[in-house]
Symmetry: none
């Protein structure tokens, strides 16, 4: 079954706010087996509203609308709504009472703008908005369901969870849709596509695949649709198992997991600890590690060794090693990793040293050249990478690659 999402209001069209409501609603509806055909953001001009409602009604079974119901501007939306549904506004005493109950403890006297919020289209079913003054409106109009909700995210979410989703469930017998996302690192989108081409070509008709690339990873999203939930789960599991055999070491997690989080779980399980010594990544590597709640269990800390002075005096890198080999070298980065592992007394030490840009590149070591080392209980490994020309992306990719090197090292055990 298909649905459309429409957001009304200027804030999104002038780029003042990012529309996070639609993604949230889309995900919730997908979980219910309802497919989103289109998301549309429009202004609150009456002709634009009615034109968009009319268009959606001809294409989908459910139309969900947010915005345009606040206390200051709702006049235009409500009038457009009334004219579209060929009805008129009446005062709803339950809503008025609720508005009074919300405002009086805050010591706010009810004014004419608040009073107007109790005016609702006569043919609408009122959805009680426990968290705000604007009620939700539900119409069953010529075979299409229309739902209007306020644009305030927590009010919309409350109405979706408590009023809209339960009603949609009752009304429609929706198919099951299950998503699984496989997180990969180390292969570009097209190389990955080539490697798994045979597997992809042999996906059953009930499962579709999408590639979602980012600097952090290439995510593979599998979507299974059908009637039998157990069967779909089984097919998904089987295809994921097959994929694990094709690209075992490139998969670092599933769904909402992160590389740093998964490394954290492994370290926690083994009772092991980690420290970092960062030059070119300048604190970002420690940041993505410490973004995880509970990281203090395995992450002791780090040294941001931006100047050579810090590399020498705190990490114990030999000064002639830097002058002979350069700060961006195998020898220096390995010495940094071993140094931080030693002084922080951890099982593993990660170090980065590179040229993030835009300046500092040479013919030998152009911008984007990054050395990464992992010092562990048994040995130290290192590698050199060539990233791109953009400072921020170099920092992100260096940090993610460093974590991936540690992950592969941990998997060896």
């Amino acid at each position: 079954m298909d649905a459309d999402i429409i957001t009304i209001g200027d804030e999104i069209l002038i780029g003042q706010i990012v529309d996070t409501n639609s993604a949230w609603m889309a995900q919730r509806l997908n979980d219910e087996g309802i497919n989103i055909r289109q998301i549309t953001s429009i202004s609150d001009q009456p002709e634009h509203i009615s034109g968009t409602l009319y268009e959606s009604a001809s294409k989908v079974a459910v139309v969900l609308v947010t915005g345009g119901l606040g206390p200051t501007k709702d006049d235009r939306t409500k009038k457009a709504v009334c004219s579209f549904f060929e009805t008129h506004l009446i005062e709803n005493l339950t809503v008025l009472d609720h508005i009074r109950q919300i405002l009086s403890p805050r010591g706010i006297p009810i004014n004419s703008l608040n009073r107007d919020q109790a005016l609702v289209p006569e043919t609408a079913t009122i959805l009680h908005n426990k968290l705000g003054t604007a009620p939700g409106l539900w119409f069953n109009h010529k075979g299409t369901i229309f739902v209007f909700m306020p644009g305030v995210p927590f009010e919309m979410k409350y109405l979706m969870d408590h009023e809209v989703i339960p009603r949609l469930r009752k009304l429609f017998n929706t198919p099951t849709i299950i998503h699984r996302t496989i997180l990969t690192y180390g292969l570009g989108e097209s190389t990955l596509a080539e490697k798994i081409e045979y597997w992809e070509d042999n996906l059953p008709g009930s499962i579709s695949l999408a590639y979602l690339p980012s600097p952090q990873s290439v995510r593979l999203r599998l979507t299974a649709r059908g009637e039998n939930k157990n069967f779909l789960l089984k097919s998904l599991d089987q295809k994921i198992q097959e994929l694990q055999e094709i690209i075992p070491s490139y998969i670092f997690g599933y769904d909402d997991e992160t590389m740093a989080g998964n490394i954290g779980s492994i370290l926690c399980d083994r009772g092991m600890t980690l420290a970092v010594a960062e030059s070119c990544t300048g604190g970002y590597l420690a940041h993505i590690i410490t973004l995880n709640p509970g990281s203090s269990k395995y992450f002791k800390g780090g040294i941001i060794a931006y100047s050579n002075e810090v590399k020498i005096n705190i990490l114990g890198v030999e000064s002639n090693c830097i002058s002979d080999r350069g700060a961006v070298s195998k020898e220096v980065v390995e010495s940094m990793a071993e140094g931080v592992r030693g002084i922080m007394n951890t099982d593993y030490g990660i170090a980065t040293s590179g040229i993030a840009g835009p300046d500092g590149g040479t013919t030998d070591k152009p911008v984007g050249t990054v050395w990464i080392a992992i010092a562990g209980p048994d040995h130290t490994i290192s590698g050199v990478y060539s990233f791109a020309n953009n400072r921020e992306r170099n920092i992100i990719r260096s940090s993610q690659t460093a974590l991936n090197m540690l992950r592969l090292e941990l998997l060896k055990k």
Copy 2:
């Protein structure tokens, strides 16, 4: 003049990603005096694509499309585009050459999927995408401009800034619009609004004001519209000067400046240096400092002192100071700031220690409690803050507040 934005791809419709591109584009186009009529997110089904393009063409002068141009199989956009514009794909050797240049330094051999990216609609003007393999496409079709860009944010932004906006400027004679953004920190949106109410009420009709709050700052965007550029510039300058007198110490910069960048300029000018000691911010403070190119001139490095062991052994905090006062205390954070200033031999040291959450809060020190200290040549200052319940936001706000404390300290001289 009106424009539509269309995003193609399933990621947004299933709610897997939030559409941040559209808000960014809307803002940029608004800056050019182009009004966004509608933002539409659709799937990559050919009929849906052509139907949406057709609909937009009848309503606006410019249609900007993102997404659906990646190298893998899930992209059916190009075929739909060819059929809509009644053209066909041809191989573009400039694009092919560029793809080779992008992939070869990374050691990635060109495969058939990459090769396909050099296939472009014959009637399109190719927009060179310096940062990626998928070029932008520009059509002037029956009086409407259509632009197709990849959905990867930094590639889209590059194309918008370097190819699309300059062409739109040449093509359309839009009124003069000048934006100036004033960056403030330290006042909430409503307190700020109250403080500058008289100033705001006396803005001339040619200048409008928007509040853009974020965890980093409250930005005030002034937009001047009119025919006479010099007159607009003069009015803007005058109003900004007035504002500087009303809220002098709350303004930390203008337009694209950042707090960390401005602090860097001051330190550079004075030949002074900086180091950080981070507990709860876990590397993020160093990260926003080192995001600035050239930060190595004044930033020597930092210690991420996540464990107390590191606070004691490396920063030299007294262990009974931690046991008596707790790691989140005035005494410990001041000792951390002085410690890192000493061992890194810098003019200033910043330190943070707090409870980022979600765990670790107590009745005395709930989640969001953060101590920040600045150690300088003359003295050490510190302060305690109560932020919110969200780990990531606490990290961002603590780091920004720490920088602001240093900024105010530097301004005293």
